[in-house]
Symmetry: C2
Subunit: 352 residues, 2 copies
């Protein structure tokens, strides 16, 4: 080993869901099956490559203003980044600097522990209860910060607003981050609470409900002091993170409220139908408020089904992790995709 | 002060050059005055917003392969990021983890100290000599890493390849990063040396010579171990940094070698002409190998001229910093822009 290799940062990187290049039914990374808003198509046509020679607006004001306007907050309450991963990573770096451990559930978005490791943040992971519920009591002890997704991933379970408020109120000494990547599929957002509590940061993304995973746009909303602190850190790392297409197309995407509601409504309807059908086939699952189902079959091991589906050209997500290793996370696709998925599963169960 | 505010990361953020929204002659952020390659315009027309609903390829393979092919290296030798700022920031986090101070010149890209501060990396800044040259001897002592731009910014001075090789060879225990943001305007790239030295990382960008600042694309080339280590850290922070337009348009931008050579050639020719004219007007400046000049007038203070130019709608960059506070950094624009700049300066000097 060379001397310089001794000082290379040691990490265990997060493994993202596969992005297969061949044609498959892709229900493994919680993407939206519908295209972005019609206005995004128009805005794309209007982009002029001549403008690309110049740096983008480092504040991404057009995009920030559009988000602020959609949610009825001020622009100083909004932080944008390259996907919600960038936003949360920046929040870790900005807020989680005490010696006390931060808290997040043992079953949750697996990136939290990766960020904590890379930035040297101590953490503890209270266990979800036997129904995969978050226990509020676990988040009422000394801590250096709190983060969890609502709805939680991969469990799909949403907590009501009073539950969130109780945790935020009980932790006024810490920054509490609610990761609302999946909130638009039936959960109650904590956005309103950011006006009441200065220690609450709500993170959302364009990747799911806005059909823009490929554009990499995430955002956080919180009181001005929180946002200012994140901006200061962001400007210390990379002043220009949002490129011109993200700023321009992101703005148009968020302005189309009707399309957004239509799209999320369709996904919720498909989810409810698929949940019913899967239950008929012997699956159990929590009530989902996300764009995916977290399902386990009473007889067939999840891993076996995962591999059979993959061979059949249908990708879902499987986590080989204690307590959840008999579950599949199934993204809600179009009705046609879900019909193909159900037909495959039905046939597999019959033939087995 | 709230308790949580005590644990907010304290930073002194980098201040980027202004991005004025009104119409001005913008010679302050070293952008390329010419549009991106014609193929970028074509590729933009071919982008289909339907694809944006899906995550991009986390490895950005199309772009990585195109860069590798352009430079005659393998794809495993290439790391891409959201501008070279993202790439260098990732390199700091990956490689600069020893207790020994890293070294970079006192007059250099001002972001280096910002990254060092935010990541808690110790650093020392050897002084440039009286002609703003880097002294090789200063980089032959124990250190935790070395970084400097070649050509240096804002001095515009390039070091020859032997100079770079000498430093790389003398520091086999450290990672040496050569920041070649401006290399395509007349300097000698150290890329070839990455095949010979495993501790050398060369960083370049699409923001200057490729006219793509607005797309945010930077890259590093080095041996496979260095690149693998950076990828591991990158995947621990944000798996999907490069959005679909950056991957697609970046690929096409780098493939157009003829346009790239034509563009950089024009800028070099304009630079040489402007340097001559400015010298006639009483300016002194080092020989520039970048797309900017670093000029000082024998009689008029730089700050005064900076402010007069700004009032006149011409933006250049001024750094209120010891040793260089009587210099202006003037980006090379089109011939028309530079004529307007020279005419303004000439008139200002005559009227003064």
């Amino acid at each position: 080993m060379k001397e310089w290799e001794k000082y290379v940062r040691k990490v265990v990187p997060y493994v993202p869901g596969e992005q297969p290049k061949e044609k498959v039914i892709k229900l493994n990374t919680n993407e939206n099956p519908y295209p972005p808003a019609p206005r995004v198509f128009e805005a794309l046509k209007e982009l002029d490559a001549t403008d690309f020679r110049k740096y983008p607006d480092p504040a991404a004001s057009e995009l920030v203003d559009a988000i602020a306007s959609f949610y009825g907050v001020e622009s100083e309450n909004v932080f944008v980044g390259v996907g919600s991963d960038d936003v949360i990573s920046m929040a870790f770096l900005t807020f989680f600097n005490s010696e006390k451990p931060i808290l997040f559930p043992d079953i949750s978005y697996s990136f939290y522990s990766v960020w904590a490791d890379v930035y040297g943040v101590k953490y503890e992971c209270p266990k979800l209860d036997e129904n995969f519920g978050i226990c509020a009591a676990d988040y009422k002890r000394e801590n250096g910060g709190i983060i969890f997704p609502n709805p939680n991933a991969p469990t799909s379970i949403a907590q009501p607003l009073e539950f969130i408020e109780d945790i935020v109120k009980s932790n006024e000494d810490s920054v509490v981050i609610i990761d609302e990547a999946y909130i638009d599929f039936g959960g109650e957002s904590a956005l309103e609470l950011t006006k009441k509590y200065d220690n609450l940061l709500v993170v959302q993304t364009f990747s799911k409900s806005r059909s823009m995973a490929g554009m990499r746009i995430g955002y956080a909303i919180g009181n001005k002091k929180l946002i200012r602190a994140m901006l200061d850190v962001k400007y210390s790392i990379n002043s220009y993170t949002m490129n011109i297409p993200s700023i321009k197309l992101g703005k148009l995407a968020i302005e189309d409220r009707a399309y957004f509601e239509e799209c999320t409504g369709k996904i919720v309807a498909t989810r409810e139908r698929v949940a019913k059908e899967l239950k008929k086939l012997g699956f159990v699952m929590p009530d989902s408020k996300a764009n995916f189902l977290f399902a386990s079959h009473s007889k067939v091991p999840a891993k076996e089904l995962f591999e059979a589906l993959k061979k059949g050209g249908i990708y879902v997500r499987y986590f080989p992790k204690e307590r959840i290793d008999n579950f599949l996370r199934i993204t809600i696709g179009t009705d046609e995709e879900m019909d193909a998925f159900i037909a495959f599963v039905k046939e597999y169960l019959e033939k087995r």
